[in-house]
């Protein structure tokens, strides 16, 4: 296993920032405008990202106990001290 040097940590942080910037740029560009009056379907409960956020957090905690990775539940914070 490689030791975690400050240089290595900085390199990882740079890569994470780059990945984040690319993803955000991807999300923010290249889509047609969808007016509010055309959003009936995307506001339906079965389309919501947030409606099952707590369910996803509980599942993630169960997966954390059996698998070596974590994350993917999105959103800020979330209060899971197991990350």
């Amino acid at each position: 296993m490689s030791p975690a040097t400050p240089t290595r940590v900085r390199a990882l942080a740079r890569r994470a920032l780059l990945a984040g910037g690319l993803l955000l740029a991807l999300a923010a560009s290249g889509c047609a405008t969808v007016p509010v009056y055309q959003r009936e379907h995307v506001t339906d409960r079965i389309m919501s990202f947030n409606a099952q956020a707590r369910l996803d957090m509980r599942l993630m905690k169960s997966f954390d106990a059996r698998e070596g990775s974590t994350g993917g539940t999105g959103g800020a914070g979330g209060g899971c001290a197991c990350k």
Binding site: A27, F49, R54, E67, G68, G77, K83
Partner: protein, 377 residues
């Protein structure tokens, strides 16, 4: 690492609150919800969870959410040969201490509390989880903003967690008190791409320092048993994309992909899908499938030739090995507000039942059963 008394925290939160529960703007957030969850693994570990969630809207765009969870964990009597992986807590991965009579079930209770205050674009959060040998606390802050006529939402979050680990008396391991800290950042973008599709992308980064192995677990190495040893530092990052598509016949398909890696050498891929279908007005069924695969940590070995392990590290943790897993799930969601709109209080209720079946390549399987009710004020 002082324990912040729940009563003091609750007092502060309540003192800042001016009005009782009122109607909520966000239909995604129930005003009050309660949930019962049962987790049973093939190693006979069981976890019973009683969960409560309450959200109050206040003046001046303030909102308070409170989350409570009481869990009883039962880990069966030790029946495994020396050096083999023991049954562990299905939520925290802690195994039982071996002391006194190890041939009887070991039970413990865990309580967790979370309070979140949001004001406009900002959110602040405090979390605490307490059990007999572990105290985890976390503070977090978040910011999110709608852009492009509410077509795009950008969210940023950070959190700092500090855990105090105080292993109870144990006959065969002798780990003293330890700590662990976790620093977390995330950035998430959510966008409406067409009148029937949305996409969410995000990145997360965690730096974990401190005790990260199981203080009760031994590893069979060089012909003897030695305590497990993991590195004290771990940098973990992941990126994910989620795509939701509304389909004909009042159904939706949700697809997810996540890539993760860390500096212990573990890399993983996860794909998931959820199909939701309205059965009748206000009732929908949901079918879920998830596939997961990961590589092993650099210091993982099925057999260690010497007690020095790999660079001084040894693990008996199956999570450090290469593995794959599957999850199948089914759920029913009832919105009684639609089914019984004329009822004075039934129309405020929503109920959900779900069953998930998990199994992985370590010959482990689990059943997860949940049932819950939400009440909208």
């Amino acid at each position: 690492m002082r324990w912040l008394p729940l009563s003091a925290l609750a007092g502060v939160l309540v003192a800042t609150w001016a009005s009782p529960c009122v109607a909520m703007d966000d239909p995604d957030e129930p005003a009050a919800g309660t949930l019962v969850r049962f987790f049973t693994g093939s190693d006979h570990v069981t976890v019973r969870s009683l969960v409560g969630d309450y959200t109050f809207d206040g003046p001046r765009d303030l909102s308070l959410s409170i989350h409570y969870n009481n869990e009883r964990v039962t880990i069966p009597a030790i029946a495994a040969p020396v050096g083999s992986a023991e049954a562990v807590d299905a939520i925290t991965t802690a195994s039982r201490p071996i002391a006194g009579n190890a041939y009887q079930d070991f039970s413990k209770v865990r309580n967790e509390f979370q309070g979140e205050l949001t004001h406009g674009h900002f959110g602040a959060d405090y979390y605490v989880s307490s059990e007999s040998d572990y105290l985890g606390q976390e503070v977090s802050a978040s910011y999110n903003r709608d852009l492009e006529g509410q077509q795009l939402n950008l969210a940023f979050g950070t959190s700092y967690g500090w855990d105090a680990i105080d292993p109870v008396a144990d006959d065969d391991t002798h780990t003293g008190n330890s700590t662990k800290t976790t620093l977390h950042w995330d950035a998430v973008a959510t966008r409406v791409v067409t009148p029937t599709a949305m996409v969410r992308v995000g990145v997360e980064y965690n730096v974990v320092d401190g005790l990260q192995h199981n203080p009760y677990r031994n590893v069979y190495a060089g012909g003897t048993n030695v305590p497990e040893r993991h590195p004290d530092h771990r940098a973990r990052r992941d990126a994910f994309v989620k795509f939701n598509q509304y389909l004909r016949n009042r159904s939706s398909l949700k697809l997810t992909y996540r890539y993760y890696n860390d500096d212990w050498g573990i890399g993983s891929h996860e794909i998931g899908s959820r199909l939701s279908q309205y059965i009748t007005h206000g009732v929908f069924a949901q079918y879920q499938y998830r596939y997961y695969t990961q590589t092993a940590a650099d210091f993982y070995r099925a057999v260690y030739a010497t007690t020095a392990g790999v660079n001084g590290y040894l693990t008996g943790d199956y999570r450090m090995a290469a593995l794959s897993s599957h999850l199948f799930g089914i759920a029913l969601d009832f919105d009684l507000g639609t089914m019984a709109a004329e009822s004075a209080w039934l129309h405020r209720l929503r109920a959900r039942m779900s069953y998930d079946r998990y199994f992985n390549s370590n010959n482990y399987s689990a059943n997860i059963l949940e049932t819950g009710v939400d009440f909208r004020f």
